[in-house]
């Protein structure tokens, strides 16, 4: 006798209870606090904010805790929360020219106004495990100096003054909103950049790397990479002027790329652009390279069939929340569709078998 499996509801509740227990781990080990995650795993927090499209370090830290350190799961939590938030309006565009830079480097000029600032970087650290960190270490103390104040001019502006780099016309058209309108092709650059800034870091990195290896190569130099905080201002119609509502840390990367030119136009360098929430420079550089690769058409370049040149391919597959959901859904029950395939294959095999028997008999 067969008894059908029941009790899905209880199974789900029990699974969730077990998950909660596993998340906490052994209770003789101190529980991780949100502030600890926020302050000591800040690069994970930054990634969750960037790909979650929500600038809130506390919520990102909470999501990381709840997700047991699975960053894509944490990004998912943030996205699902974000979508329920009311919208009060849009901020003014942030001005990265007045960024209070913690880090600012140029690979194209040895020195420049404002100087090169290495900042808190892993660059030049020898990747040797620091076993002192395994024990309780002393709080490190780095030397400090007065911060630079005032404008920090963009490197590409110096090139622009000589006409050496393509000019990007000023455009005040409100950009489309990827989270409020369905993604449609062809996507303009504003929409592509919006998709890339929240795109999966690994996917973006892989695509950017592929351009360096020749799949849509565009000879990128990091004209400038800067990380720091910028004020966010919002226009309040009742007041008639805009007020600062806070500040965000951003990473901005501007690449100076492959020059173009023709008989009528003198050669000029071209640009790629990356702008990402938080200290996220791998992502920002990757974004700039992919942005540049996607611009092949407007710059009159050949489509060599490289993945990074294919806007539809890049934009439809860059979102890790869409990707992970659909990938993982194949573990859901598919009895019904599988059963229909099973019947079909049996039928086809049966007929093939009958045919062989008949051929043998003949």
């Amino acid at each position: 006798m067969y008894v059908a499996v029941k009790g899905g509801e209880r199974a789900i509740q029990n699974a969730h209870a077990w998950l909660a227990e596993e998340r906490r781990g052994p209770t003789d080990i101190a529980e991780l606090g949100i502030t600890q995650i926020r302050e000591q795993l800040s690069l994970a927090v930054n990634r969750v904010m960037a790909e979650g499209s929500l600038y809130d370090p506390d919520l990102a830290a909470l999501a990381i805790k709840q997700a047991r350190g699975d960053l894509i799961e944490a990004i998912f939590l943030i996205r699902a929360y974000r979508t329920t938030l009311p919208r009060f309006g849009a901020s003014e565009p942030v001005d990265t020219g007045i960024m209070a830079c913690d880090r600012r480097i140029s690979a194209t000029f040895k020195d420049l106004p404002g100087g090169q600032v290495l900042g808190p970087t892993f660059d030049y650290t020898h990747r040797l495990l620091d076993f002192k960190l395994a024990a309780d270490g002393e709080a490190p103390n780095a030397p400090s100096r007065e911060p630079e104040t005032g404008n920090v001019p963009h490197v590409t502006e110096f090139l622009n003054r000589e006409g050496l780099i393509e000019e990007v016309p000023h455009d005040d058209t409100p950009p489309p909103d990827l989270t409020r309108e369905p993604l449609e092709m062809p996507a303009d650059r504003a929409l592509r950049l919006q998709a890339l800034t929240r795109a999966d870091e690994g996917f973006t990195l892989g695509l950017a790397y592929s351009t360096q290896r020749g799949y849509g190569r565009n000879h990128a130099f990091v004209g400038e990479l800067r990380i720091g905080s910028v004020p966010v201002e919002m226009d309040i119609p009742e007041l008639g002027f805009s007020v600062e509502i806070g500040e965000v840390i951003l990473t901005e990367c501007e690449t100076v790329n492959q020059f173009t030119g023709s008989k009528t136009e003198p050669p000029q360098f071209t640009r790629g652009y990356g702008l990402v929430f938080g200290q996220t420079e791998r992502k920002a550089i990757s974004m700039a390279l992919v942005d540049r690769a996607l611009r092949w058409e407007e710059l009159g370049e050949d489509n060599v069939g490289a993945p990074a040149q294919d806007a539809e391919f890049v934009l439809y597959h860059a979102d890790n929340i869409q990707a992970t959901g659909f990938l993982e859904h194949i573990k859901l029950p598919h009895y019904v569709d599988f059963q229909s395939e099973l019947e079909l294959v049996r039928k086809l095999r049966h007929e093939a078998g009958a045919q062989q028997v008949q051929e043998a008999a003949e």
Partner: protein, 283 residues
């Protein structure tokens, strides 16, 4: 869950989805783009169906959720619980009592009636997607009614296997115009799509598409004169209720690979058993 709006989605989002549903009904089988929202469940797990359900549910509805025909599969349980919590609707497992039924991969065995809405969860709404991966191309093909590629594919099946080798998500043509993906229902269910008394709504969250079949719409499964469409199922009857006309799940019941067949529609099977019908494997 008082902090969330009725049926979870905010009113503006519901209006956007509602407008898309109306356009979908006006152009049967055409995929209307909509700004799908990020839901608190993963893409691929019914976010499209959930958004459509959220947009059509009223507090007076009686709601049923099935996955693979069953009310008690884990994801059906999860979605049902979600709407119990966020919309406070009454839920049921009885097909005839439900006013809104959200489904994944099946159409209930019992014929639906007027006053009911069937909401499908759709993974890949584009029937041409596996022939042409580019949305820009498939959209053009629909606009030009250029469906030759689909017929070529089906015909290649016939020349290789002697049959059309599509057994689920079997493409249909709606009112002689749009080729439509009926979601991954077994082709056994295809004949129920057309001329149905209930409203059928299809939601694809990740792919951001909504489409619809009004009641009594002409829906034809693609086929050829010499290879007519054939709805098929396992050639058995249900081991529990003895039904001969229902779609069956195949179960492996012992280490020797012994098998039995049971209705995939749990409500249909239980109702039949309650009426005294008995299969050969029933107690």
């Amino acid at each position: 869950m008082t902090e969330y709006n009725f049926a979870y989605l905010d009113e503006q989002t519901k209006r956007m989805i509602r407008r898309a549903i109306l356009k979908g009904l006006a152009i049967p089988g055409y995929q209307v783009p909509f700004a799908s929202r990020e839901m608190p469940m993963p893409y691929g797990w019914g976010t499209g169906g959930v958004q459509v359900s959220a947009a059509v549910l009223t507090p007076d509805d009686t709601f049923k959720v099935i996955d693979q025909g069953a009310d008690d599969t884990t994801n059906a349980v999860s979605i049902r619980t979600f709407f119990q919590r966020t919309a406070g609707v009454v839920t049921t497992t009885a097909t005839r009592d439900a006013t809104v039924i959200q489904t994944r991969h099946r159409i209930p065995e019992e014929p639906l009636h007027e006053g009911q809405i069937l909401v499908y969860q759709v993974p890949i709404p584009e029937p041409l997607r596996f022939l042409e991966p580019r949305e820009s191309e498939t959209r053009k093909m629909h606009s030009l009614e250029e469906y030759g590629l689909m017929h070529v594919k089906l015909y290649e099946d016939i020349s290789r296997h002697g049959h059309i080798a599509t057994s689920y998500a079997y493409p249909v043509k709606v009112e002689g115009r749009y080729v439509m993906d009926p979601s991954p229902i077994p082709k056994f269910d295809n004949p129920k799509l057309g001329d149905m008394a209930a409203i059928q709504l299809f939601g694809a969250g990740r792919e951001q598409r909504i489409y619809a079949l009004p009641p009594y719409t002409q829906v034809v499964s693609l086929d050829f004169e010499d290879h007519p469409f054939e709805a098929s199922k396992a050639n058995h009857c249900c081991g529990m209720c003895g039904a001969t006309d229902s779609y069956l799940d195949e179960l492996i019941i012992d280490d020797a690979g012994g098998r039995m067949f049971v209705c995939s529609d749990t409500d249909y099977c239980e109702a039949r058993q309650a009426m005294g019908h008995k299969g050969k494997d029933a107690a």
